[in-house]
């Protein structure tokens, strides 16, 4: 059984990423369950999706200390999700900062050194500059697919036609852009 927690901020596309990954896992013949509690996600709150795959999956959600992998789309969200990480598990994260309202109005401090803190605490932290790659490619929105590429690289999932699955799941106009973002993310993870 493999447990993955994806976490980000409403609007970053965590749900789509989880959906594409799940589709690939189903094609590989795994039993897959994913949980995506979304209520007020569009309104700038934290969004978590959880994905479990293996031979047979019962519960769709992950408890604290059970995630083999955390994929964080934003720095403090990685920090927030840390209690979910299994001892010895891996964090794949973007070092992007998105300021929440308490930070914007100066009521709370943003821990800019979150990556260093996480590296000191957890055993395996892989930082992927997905937002920067996405910006280089000309559209910040493909950050999520870039992280998906990194995730696919980290999980070493073989035998998946990622380009085809991406094409099935993103708007027609952005297929090649997303495929490129995926490739860059994957390379970035493999080079770590």
């Amino acid at each position: 059984m493999t447990n993955i927690l994806l976490t980000g901020v409403g609007g970053q596309g965590t749900i789509l990423t989880t959906k594409i990954l799940s589709a690939a896992l189903v094609k590989l013949g795994y039993d897959v369950k994913m949980s995506e509690i979304h209520g007020m996600s569009q309104r700038g709150g934290t969004v978590n999706t959880q994905l479990r795959y293996g031979e047979k999956v019962y519960a769709p959600n992950i408890s604290q200390g059970e995630a083999d992998l955390i994929v964080a789309f934003e720095k403090v969200e990685a920090l927030r999700a840390l209690p979910y990480l299994k001892k010895g598990g891996t964090i794949v994260m973007d070092d992007r900062e998105i300021y929440s309202m308490p930070v914007l109005i100066g009521a709370q401090e943003y821990p800019h050194n979150a990556v260093e803190l996480l590296k000191e605490t957890a055993d395996s932290v892989i930082v992927i500059p997905a937002s920067r790659i996405a910006e280089e490619l000309g559209n910040i929105k493909v950050q999520n697919i870039c992280l998906l590429g990194a995730l696919a690289g980290t999980l070493e999932l073989n035998g998946v036609d990622w380009n085809a699955i991406i094409a099935e799941n993103v708007p027609a106009k952005t297929v090649s852009l997303n495929q490129e973002a995926f490739k860059r993310g994957r390379e970035s993870a493999l080079s770590v």
Partner: protein, 590 residues
């Protein structure tokens, strides 16, 4: 057949379509909303439409069932409170075409105002009830529910929870079974529930439930899994998955699909084969009380409690199954990330203006995106309990405050969808009772909170038909308010909004403000404003922070200057611009 991933909600919609459903109605509410949204893809085969509230939605489905076709209504748990009136008596009349009522409960309050356990409604209203635990079962049980509804002449309830609705799992789908409508035959003894008929029908309902109970004793939907060991677990819905995860093969399971009426003999037989019986359920001790009433010793609620959502870890901890997994210590506090009003949200304009009048008002809110105005920095209202109440609580509150010499004006706040839902009734009460209140409709022209469902103020319906718009101001005026007691204001225009609130506060009697501007996330709005955003001139900015008081997520402050941190999401609405005394902010593009 291809295996695909589906959420519980999608699978219920698919199951209903496969079962030949002809009419599907609902009022949106998380986590049930996607059920009807997904029906729209089958619109060539069926009729589906959003209603204004759960009661009318239920009655529309009931009418379709009466007319001989299969019908389904779906709602969130609190929606069932609104629909309870027709539901309780629909059990007495029974059905013609199969009638399925979906209740989506929300243990853990992910997006609700309470955690009520609607399994108790099935018991109380005398409905049959099925509880699926994953998407495949959502599909299969929905199909079964239509069959059972017709076979036992009972409305059937499908009870799901957030974790079932919003989890995806692998589903094998089937084809649609097109069903010939049953003839509509006039039968007032069965369907006209006057006392004389109702007394007779009550006897019949109990008989129908007895028959369904007999069926449940042996039906293949309920499953028993025997393993080694003394422990037997009885559970239903998602709790089976959590229990199975926690106890694994160290316990035996009775997984109930039909949870009303309960199969007593099956339960007794299972319990006789194990030494210790645990009941694992979220919410109320619904199963536990019923099983104890059979004279069976069992427990569970004493360890799990009635609050919150269960997961495997919580069950392990409650039953002492191993040590909790080690977790990493948190090296720093992550700043909170509460959901906020979006950049360009029209509600922000209203709350910002209202702040200025804090001392002369007491505000009561309601449920919608605008509920987010309750917290910092606006602290926009002080109470909210249920949809529509934002316009009726003020009536009572204003009377109470007057009694103790409190001269503040009571303001009620609710959205357009909430007004259509039940707020109009409250408005009529206010006007008729000559209440001294100001009632504000935050009209963003959509049901935004639940993800942009159309309502009676929109000219297209779920099936894409062009439909008549029911204008809010027409409804307000129809209640008999004079023109000078009704203002329609753009909430971003602070001068106009301030003037309207001032007029409301200084006018004795009922006053209505329609705060009107479309939701900034509407596709049409995004298209119209493409490229438009605000810009702050660093030279002109004096760092006074007046603009940051709008609490716009696109605006940030650093190095003694305000700046637009997120131009992509800034809509250029211009609220911040009105705060700047130095002319540093302007709208560009678009």
């Amino acid at each position: 057949m291809e295996k695909i991933l589906m959420s519980g909600d999608e699978a219920i919609a698919r199951g209903a379509w496969e079962a030949g459903v002809c009419v599907a109605s609902a009022y949106p509410g998380t986590p049930s909303t996607e059920i009807l949204e997904n029906m729209a893809q089958y619109k060539d085969d069926l009729y589906c439409s959003w209603s204004n509230n759960e009661k009318t939605a239920t009655e529309i489905a009931f009418g379709a069932s009466l007319g001989g076709v299969r019908a389904m209504v779906s709602m969130k748990h609190v929606g069932m409170n609104v629909a309870a009136d027709p539901i309780f008596t629909a059990a007495y009349t029974g059905v013609n075409g199969g009638l399925v009522i979906v209740s989506a409960d929300d243990p853990g309050c992910y997006s609700s105002q309470n955690e009520q356990d609607n399994r108790l409604y099935a018991l109380h209203a005398r409905l049959g009830m099925l509880e699926p635990s994953d998407s495949q079962e959502c599909l299969e049980y929905t199909k079964a529910a239509f069959e059972l509804s017709e076979k036992f002449d009972l409305p059937m309830m499908i009870r799901v929870t957030t974790r079932v609705c919003h989890s995806k799992s692998v589903v094998q789908t089937g084809q649609r079974n097109e069903i010939k409508p049953l003839p509509y035959v006039s039968n007032p003894e069965k369907y006209a529930m006057l006392p004389a008929n109702a007394r007779v029908r009550h006897v019949q309902v109990e008989k129908n439930l007895e028959a369904l109970k007999d069926y449940a004793e042996t039906c293949a939907l309920n499953k028993t899994i025997y393993n080694e060991g003394d422990i037997g677990i009885i559970c239903s819905g998602i709790c089976y998955m959590h229990a199975r995860e926690a106890f694994g093969d160290s316990a035996s399971y009775l997984k109930l699909a039909v949870t009303h009426p309960l199969p007593d003999k099956l339960i007794k037989a299972f319990c006789s084969k194990v030494k210790t019986v645990y009941i694992i359920e979220e919410g109320e001790p619904y199963l536990e009380n019923a099983i104890k009433a059979l004279g069976i010793e069992c427990s569970g609620k004493n360890r799990l409690g009635p609050q919150g959502e269960l997961d495997a870890q919580r069950i392990r901890a409650a039953f002492g199954l191993g040590e909790p997994p080690e977790i990493y210590p948190q090296p720093a506090q992550a700043p909170a990330r509460p959901p906020v009003l979006c950049a360009g949200c029209p509600h922000r304009g209203f709350y910002f203006a209202m702040q200025k009048h804090k001392d002369s008002i007491v505000a009561i809110g309601d449920i919608g995106c605008y509920s987010l105005g309750v917290s910092a920095p606006f602290f926009g209202f002080e109470a909210c309990i249920c949809m529509g109440s934002g316009f009726s609580i003020p009536i009572g509150l204003s009377i109470a405050l007057k009694r103790q010499g409190d001269k503040r004006k009571v303001i009620g706040i609710l959205g357009d969808s909430t007004f259509y839902h039940s707020g109009f009734n409250s408005l009529v009460d206010a006007v008729h009772q000559m209440a001294d209140v100001c009632l504000v409709i935050l009209d963003n022209s959509i049901t935004a909170m639940t993800g942009h469902q159309v309502n009676s103020g929109v000219e297209r319906d779920l099936m894409g038909r062009e439909v008549p718009v029911i204008p809010l101001e027409g409804m307000v005026m129809s209640a008999g308010l004079d023109k000078d007691r009704v203002r329609i204001v753009d909430p971003i225009d602070q001068q106009a909004m301030n003037a309207a609130i001032e007029a409301a506060v200084s006018t004795q009697g009922t006053f209505v403000i329609i705060s009107r501007r479309p939701c900034a996330l509407l596709k049409e709005e995004i298209r119209l404003r493409a490229g438009r955003h605000c810009e702050i001139d660093r030279e002109l900015c004096r760092g006074c922070k007046a603009c940051t008081k709008t609490a716009c997520p696109s605006l940030a402050f650093e190095g003694k200057k305000a700046y637009i941190a997120d131009a992509a999401n800034c809509t250029g609405c211009g609220l911040c611009l009105q705060m700047c005394r130095f002319g540093a902010i302007k709208t560009v593009g678009g």
